[in-house]
Amino acid sequence: MTELVQTLVLGLLVGGIYALAASGLTLIFGVMRVINIAHGAFLILGAFIAYTVWNQLGLDPLVGVLITTPIVFGLGWLIYRLLVRPIRHAPMSSTVLLTFGLALVTEGVMGLVWGNNSTAIRPSYVDQSFHPGDIFLPKAQVYGGLLAVVVLLALWLILTKTWLGRAIRAAAANPASAELVGIKVTSVSAVVFGLGVAAAGAGGAITGVLYPFVPGSHYVWIARLLAIVVLGGLGSLEGAVLSALVFGVAETVTAVYFSPAWATAVPYAIVFAVLLIRPQGLMGTRLRDDAVAA
C-alpha cells in the first residue's frame, strides 16, 4: 500500500509539472490554431535563464520565475509581432514550419550563449525530501508542483475572471465576431502567444531544477507535450492539465509495476486508446464538420 501511495504521489507531482509545461502549447493553439513546435525550445530557454538568474544573482530558481517569466513573455510577444503575425492567415502548415525553424534557431542560440555542455541547477534543497510516514516527497518536486499549481491557477483566473480572458475566449471562439465587438484580435493573440511562451519559461525553470539539460533537450519535451495536449483535446487548458496528470501517473505506475523500459511508451498507448474512443481528446469538443467527415 505504501508503495502504491508513493507511486501515485510521485506521478502526480511529475504530472503537475507536465501540466504547466503543456498549458502554453494548448493555450496558443486554442486561440491561434498555431502548433508551436518551438515550445520545447522555449521551455529549455526558460531553464537556461533560470540557471543564469540562480548562478549570477544567487536567487532561488523557483523564486527567479518572477524574473524569468516576464523575460520569456516579452520574447514571445516580440516573436508573435515579428514572425507569427505576418503569416497569421496562412495555412496551418506555414506556422508549423515557422515554429520548427524557431526551435532550431533557439537551440543554436542557446548553444552559442550557454554552450552544449550539460547544465544543472542545484538549489540547497535539490537532494532533500519530506518524509511523511513511510513515503518520501522530494522537496524540489513538491515546490515545483506547488509553483505549477500557482501559475496554472493564475492562468485560469486570467482566462475566466478578467476582461483580457473574456477577450481571449471570444477571439478563440469566433475571431470575426470578436473584432466586431471591438476586440483587437491581433493584440490579444500577441498577449496569448506571450503567455503561452511564458508558461513554457516557468515550466523550464522548474524542470531545470529537476533535470540537467542541454540545448538539444527540447526534442524529448516537444514530443511529450504534443502527446499531452492531443490527449487532453487540442486547445483545452483543463484537458491539458488532466492529460498531464494521467501521463505522469501512467509513467510512474508503469515504471514501478511493469518495467521502466515501458514507462515512456505506455502513456502513448493510452493516447492511442483514448483517441480511438474520443477522437477529440479527453476534453476537446467535436464539431459539426467532424461529424460530416466521419
Binding site: 508503495e3 510521485l10 506521478g11 493553439f29 486554442g30 490554431r33 502548433i35 513546435i37 496551418m92 502548415s93 514550419l97 532550431l104 543554436g108 548553444g111 552544449n116 555542455n117 550539460s118 544543472a120 542545484r122 535539490v126 537532494d127 532533500q128 518520501f136 522530494p138 481571449i168 475566449r169 478563440a172 471562439a173 533535470y211 540537467p212 539539460f213 542541454v214 540545448p215 538539444g216 526534442y219 516537444i222 514530443a223 511529450r224 504534443l226 492531443v230 483535446g233 487540442l234 486547445g235 483545452s236 487548458l237 484537458g239 510512474t252 515504471a255 514501478v256 518495467s259 521502466p260 523500459a261 514507462a263 515512456t264 476537446g284 469538443t285 464539431l287 464538420d289 467532424d290 467527415a293
Partner: protein, 407 residues
C-alpha cells in the same frame, strides 16, 4: 477554446509530428577543397542528446589537427577537418558520412560518438572501403558484423570495461564484500553490455541480484526506479548510464534518503566538472566508474596534449571524450604514416590489425574484428578528485570501499 475541427487538428498534428521527427534529422552541408591539404571528415553530435561528448570530441580532433600541422602535417600535407553536426540522430549521421565521402570527397574518416551513432556510420565507411577509427562505440554489436575497416580507439569493448572493477569487488574481504546488487541500466548498446559484463562476474561470485531493469533513453523520472531499488535494498548499485540519466538516478537516490553502500556508474562520473556541478562535490565521495583516460597518465605525448588543450580551450583537465577523440586520430595517423599512402585503405586497416599503437590512452592493439584487446582503468572520486584506483600498477590512489554522499 476547444472548438476546433478534429479533421484540421489531425492534419496539423500529423504535420507537427513529421516536423518533430524532422527536427532530429537536420544535418549540415558544405564542401572542402582538397588542394594540398589532407581532408579528414567526421560527423559529430554537436547538438541534440549527445552534444556534450560530441563537443568534447570535436575539441580532441581540433587539438590533434593543430599539433599535427605544427609538426609538418600528415604525409607532408596540412590536415584540414570537415566536421558536420549529426544532431545526435541516426538517420542524419548516415547522410552526413555519405556526403563527406561523395560530395566533400574527404581523404580519410574519423568516427563519431556513442555506439548508437557509430553503428550506422561505420556501415557507410565499410561500404565505401574507408578506414574508420572510432573514439567511442564500444558495444560488442559493433564488432560482430565482420567489418574490415572498423577500429575502436579505447582499451576494451563495453562488455569488458567493468571487469577490473568486478574482479576487485569479487576479491574484497568477506566483511567488505557486497552480498546483494542492483543493476539499472539505460537501453543503450554501450551501457547495457557494460552492466551485464559486471553482473555475470558478480553473480558467479555469489553476489545476489536483487533488482535489474532497463529504461528508455527519454526517461526523465527516476524516482520510481529508485523507489523500487530502495525496497530491494542492495549493497551495491551498478548503473549503466550516459550523463543526464546518471545524474537523475544519483539525485533520486539522494532525495529518497536511501543510498547503497557501494556505487558504480558508467560514463557519468567521468564528466569531471560537469558531474561535480550536477550532483554536488560532497556527494561524489567513493563513486567508482570505468575510464579510458587520465590527464596525469605518463603515456607518450600526453603532457603535450594536455598543454595544447589548455592553450586552445583554457582548461588543464581535458574531458575523457576529447582525449578519446585525440587517440582515435593518433591511431589513424600511425597507420597512414606507416603505410605511407591513403590510396588503399584496406592496407591501413591490415597494418592496424598487425601492430600496436602508442596513444595518450596507452598502447592499443586490436583483434581481427577491430575490437581492442586491452584493459580499462577504474576511476574513483576521492576527496573531490577523480583518481585512477585500478589496476594497481597505474593507480594514482588506493581504491576505497563505499560511497559516502554528503561527506
Amino acid at each position: 477554446m476547444a472548438h476546433v475541427s478534429i479533421r484540421r487538428c489531425w492534419k496539423a498534428v500529423a504535420l507537427a509530428g513529421a516536423v518533430s521527427l524532422g527536427l532530429c534529422a537536420c544535418g549540415g552541408g558544405g564542401s572542402s577543397d582538397s588542394g594540398n591539404d589532407l581532408t579528414i571528415g567526421a560527423s559529430l553530435p554537436l547538438t541534440g542528446d549527445f552534444s556534450e561528448p560530441g563537443s568534447a570530441a570535436k575539441q580532441g580532433y581540433e587539438v590533434w589537427q593543430a599539433m599535427t600541422n605544427d609538426n609538418g602535417g600528415l604525409l607532408g600535407k596540412q590536415v584540414k577537418l570537415e566536421i558536420k553536426d549529426d544532431a545526435s540522430n541516426q538517420n542524419t549521421i548516415v547522410s552526413d558520412y555519405n556526403a563527406l565521402i561523395s560530395q566533400d570527397n574527404v581523404d580519410l574518416l574519423l568516427g563519431t560518438f556513442s555506439s548508437l551513432l557509430n553503428l550506422p556510420a561505420s556501415a557507410v565507411a565499410e561500404k565505401n572501403r574507408m578506414l574508420y577509427v572510432e573514439p567511442a562505440g564500444g558495444s560488442p554489436d559493433m564488432f560482430n558484423r565482420g567489418y574490415k575497416y572498423l577500429f575502436f580507439a579505447q582499451q576494451a569493448t563495453a562488455d569488458k570495461q567493468g571487469l577490473v572493477f568486478a574482479d576487485w569487488v569479487k576479491n574484497l574481504p568477506p566483511d567488505q564484500r557486497p552480498k546483494t546488487a542492483a543493476y539499472p541500466t539505460l537501453d543503450d548498446p554501450f551501457a547495457s553490455p557494460n552492466v551485464d559484463g559486471i553482473r555475470e562476474v558478480l553473480e558467479s561470485a555469489g553476489i545476489k541480484t536483487v533488482y535489474k531493469t532497463t529504461y528508455a533513453i527519454d526517461t526523465k523520472n527516476f524516482d520510481s526506479i529508485v523507489a523500487a531499488m530502495k525496497s530491494a535494498n542492495p549493497d551495491l548499485v551498478v548503473h549503466g548510464a550516459t550523463f543526464e540519466d546518471g545524474v537523475g538516478v544519483t539525485r533520486a537516490m539522494l532525495k529518497s534518503g536511501w543510498t547503497p553502500k557501494m556505487f558504480y556508474e558508467t560514463s557519468t562520473p567521468s564528466f569531471a566538472d560537469q558531474y561535480v556541478k550536477a550532483i554536488g562535490e560532497d556527494n561524489t565521495e567513493g563513486v567508482m566508474y570505468a575510464v579510458s583516460y587520465s590527464p596525469e597518465a605518463d603515456t607518450p605525448g600526453n603532457k603535450e596534449f594536455v598543454a595544447q588543450y589548455e592553450k586552445m580551450f583554457g582548461s588543464a583537465i581535458p574531458p575523457e571524450d576529447a582525449a578519446d577523440a585525440y587517440a582515435a586520430a593518433q591511431v589513424m595517423q600511425a597507420a597512414v604514416e606507416a603505410v605511407g599512402s591513403i590510396d588503399d585503405q584496406l592496407a591501413l586497416a591490415d597494418w592496424l590489425r598487425g601492430h600496436e599503437v602508442d596513444t595518450i590512452l596507452g598502447p592499443l592493439s586490436w583483434d581481427d574484428t577491430g575490437a581492442p584487446e586491452g584493459e580499462f582503468l577504474i576511476g574513483q572520486w576521492l576527496n573531490g578528485t577523480a583518481e585512477i584506483v585500478l589496476p594497481p600498477e597505474v593507480a594514482t590512489a588506493k581504491a576505497e570501499v563505499g560511497w559516502h554522499p554528503g561527506s
